[in-house]
Symmetry: C2
Subunit: 199 residues, 2 copies
């Protein structure tokens, strides 16, 4: 397992001519200039000096560009759930992990904002996001299922995961609309409301 690191072993072969991150940066510039829909894969590939076909070796689809390396992020979230003390009430744990998960470095805030602006406002990306959210929800549902002693696909874990995600998205939308409030603050407020049944 010493080899399974993310550094990639490179036993030989041609070097990759760019990176996901570089393409993402580049694509974001174009999206800002012309808009997401009016930027073609060919535009991005040309700007990056690669072939259209090669673009699809870095991203499975155009819609995946704004998601960066979301899967690795989910591993982090999973780890935080695992590190949660068992005596912490269920929804408190969920809230803390979700809020903490979204506590990003000040320097990265503009990036996060831009990323989320795309995801939450471009229809094609709104739609695609559902597929990525499913993975996010699974992380929550597995934790909740574990705690409740139910399968992750049972009603309560699923309902809680769905509700948590929904509330988090609502908080994100508020954050986009009003940059002066802290994202973590909004998430905390909204998730607290959820855990009290919006009383």
């Amino acid at each position: 397992m010493a080899e399974s690191s993310n550094v990639a072993v490179r036993r030989g072969g041609r070097r990759r001519s760019t990176s996901r991150a570089a393409l993402e940066h580049l694509a974001f510039e174009l999206f800002d200039e012309r808009g997401f829909e009016d930027t073609t894969i060919e535009d991005i590939a040309a700007a990056a000096g690669i072939g259209r076909r090669t673009f699809f070796r870095y991203f499975p689809s155009k819609n995946d560009v704004p998601w960066g390396s979301f899967d690795e992020q989910l591993d982090v979230m999973r780890a935080r759930f695992a590190a949660c003390p068992a005596e912490m009430p269920l929804l408190d744990a969920v809230r803390e992990v979700v809020v903490d998960f979204n506590r990003v470095d000040q320097a990265e805030v503009p990036w996060l904002r831009r990323r989320m602006r795309f995801i939450l406002t471009v229809p094609a990306l709104q739609a695609h996001s559902t597929l990525r959210y499913a993975d996010w929800r699974l992380v929550v549902a597995e934790f909740v299922g574990e705690r409740l002693g139910e399968p992750a696909d049972a009603l309560r874990p699923q309902a809680i995961a769905h509700a948590t995600l929904g509330v988090a998205i609502a908080a994100y939308q508020q954050w986009l609309a009003d940059p002066t409030v802290e994202l973590t603050q909004l998430l905390d407020t909204a998730l607290r409301a959820l855990s009290t049944g919006f009383a």
Copy 2:
């Protein structure tokens, strides 16, 4: 405004050669046979005896086929919210309307099940559903906003709308997995849990 009825006035012109409902039925058969992805618009059009181009005059996209006339449904839901007694607690009202909205005729249950099976299991449809759900959420958020004296796009109305939708989807998924339970029962259970903060 006497003309704005949905009966369509027909001052002349060629008759429509089919209907949304007929196309939907037909498409569902093909989807069941070959699967959603492996059924092309041309397949559906050919089966219906219309041109490919004409299909897009009945449905804006292939992904919209399983949604039938969802917009009219939303009008119904809006009306039910409007008819809610003002003294009924907020989340009770939401729950009752949502549950009632999903109380369908026994004869239509198989149809609803098939429809939802497509929407909730085919990735392209899962993704697309987000765009339709947005309209659904707006109906809820407008009602909640009205009640709370806040704009529909404020945090609480949005959070409640998102959470309600999420929980409803979780209930639907359970219903799909286990046909023996009543959908309305599942929705009621899940939404009650939501309104008590999943205590």
